[in-house]
Amino acid sequence: MCNCGSKDVLTPQIGVVTEIRTETSDVKTFRIEKPEGGMVFDFMPGQCAMLSAPGMGEAIFSITSSPTTKDYMEFSIKRCGEITECLHAMEVGQQIAIRGPYGKSFPVTTDALKHKDLIFIAGGIGLAPLHSVIDYMLAKREDYGSIDVVYGARSKEDFVDYKELSEVWPQEKNTKVHLTIDRAQEGWTGNVGFVPQFLKDLKFTPDKTVLLCGPPIMIKLCLAALIEMGFEKTQVYTTLEFRMKCGVGKCGRCNVGNKYVCKDGPVFRCDEIDELPDEY
């Protein structure tokens, strides 16, 4: 494949798209494997990978499948730009250039999350990084306490992985799923309203640890709501969205304070984020 001494850190590997599921009008889930089958590289939940659309460029996406499923990797990608446009135009069997894993994962192996009661708060495509953590925890269910998934989307059709949300996860031990949509819609019996208000209605006790991921405005409002409910900032983990290019902390794009979001993040605890200069 490459005729050089050693592979450079920016050189991607080849993966094959083996399955494409259309989740919503603008989100598709791509299953990528090595040409000879299996996971392209090992990773931990919350880490990201760089996918290339040759001619357009590269972009970083969080890996949606759990590292415990060894024979493939999945990415839920929302169509919102040049590169995602090209990725959405891919067909099954097409080869793709992929490199990674990049960034620090959610601390699933340390006692920061182990044996703790957990709340997953996701908005829109924000479920993608958390999906990997939830599947990982369901595979090792006894290491973790209760799991509550709070997921908000614009409308019923905008829920990503609706099948898993409504059928698979609620059946798991001590796992509850709470769904909400922004505006009322006929044929929808669940909760209606934005996620921050929904959190208050669910009256979570502040002894749980929170993993929060979604559009920046939602993260800000949810964090405020959680603090009102008595949560400490050290209990809330979130991901910081920043422009990333190399993924290895050299190209300088994602530098905030003395941290590089692609290497020291994108997963941060909220008190760590306060130490950074407010430039995000």
């Binding site: 050089c4 920016l10 050189t11 040759p54 001619g55 920046p216 422009r243 300088g252």
Partner: protein
Amino acid sequence: MLKINKAKWLELFAALSAQGTLYVPANVDDKVDFTIWQNATEVDLQATQTAKSIKNIFFPQVENLLDFKTDGLKLSVEQRMLPEEATIAFGVRGCDVRSFEVLDKVFLKDPVDTFYKARRENCTIVSLACSAPDETCFCGTFAIDATNPGGDVTTWLVGDELFWQANTDKGSQLTEKVKTLLVEGDAAEVAAQQKATKEIMAKMPLADFKIAAKIPAEQEKVFNSTVWQQLSGTCLSCCACTYVCPTCHCYDVRDFEVDNKVERFRCWDSCMCKDFTKMAAVNPRVSRLERFRQRYMHKLVYFPENNEGTFACVGCGRCLQKCPVNLNIVKVAKALEVAKDV
């Protein structure tokens, strides 16, 4: 201490260029810049430093990384060959030699950048001590001894004699290859020149310029100081200072579509560009003040915090000479030092 007379320099350059591509500071259309030596090149060892820094020997402005070939659903990735040709950088001043250590802290830190590493290891650095520092130089601020610049081989230009001293084994291997041209020299002449140069440096306007310890220490206050408004007000936010700076290392990775294949290349990028941090939804540093502040906070505060106090500046003074509106790191540091709210 070995030395070689001016009359034999042409032979020395010919012998060196036999060992590998020789870069020398030469007079290129009324500017002194590093170019590949041919026997017609007008080598200029008097110029205090070159117009552009020498970082493009290791970190070129444009560098093809890999090629994509697509046929049908198949995709092949072919990384470009790592550069193996030996190079020799002759006449590198003390500040530029130190700038390689700053770049090493970025590119050779794990995960290693193999293109940079290949170029860096295949290059022998022949440094040239300063004997006529300029008023824009302030390498003293970063404890760089311009009269003994280090590198694989150190040379001193005293009158018509070029004194030669190998420091590393790479340097002594090179010395072996050109031994026949070198004769014994008296080290005292070099010591005399060093003393004289140090006296001149003490008279320079920026001789006692220091980066106040409080700038890296009180990061929060420095970040929120009102000084940035006054300083960045007239900055043009062009990229001149970042492209001539020897320690600026930000880059962009872009694709270029040719007929049947795609070339992925790396090129210099600048935090002063408007779209450096532009994302789909928002650009965290949309105003000129934020970009200006990020450049100097990175060089004076963030980089030292991650790299045991090494500043991302070597005091070469190129930004002092090249900025269209004469804004530079010295003015920033001095303004922050006397600022009332820091």
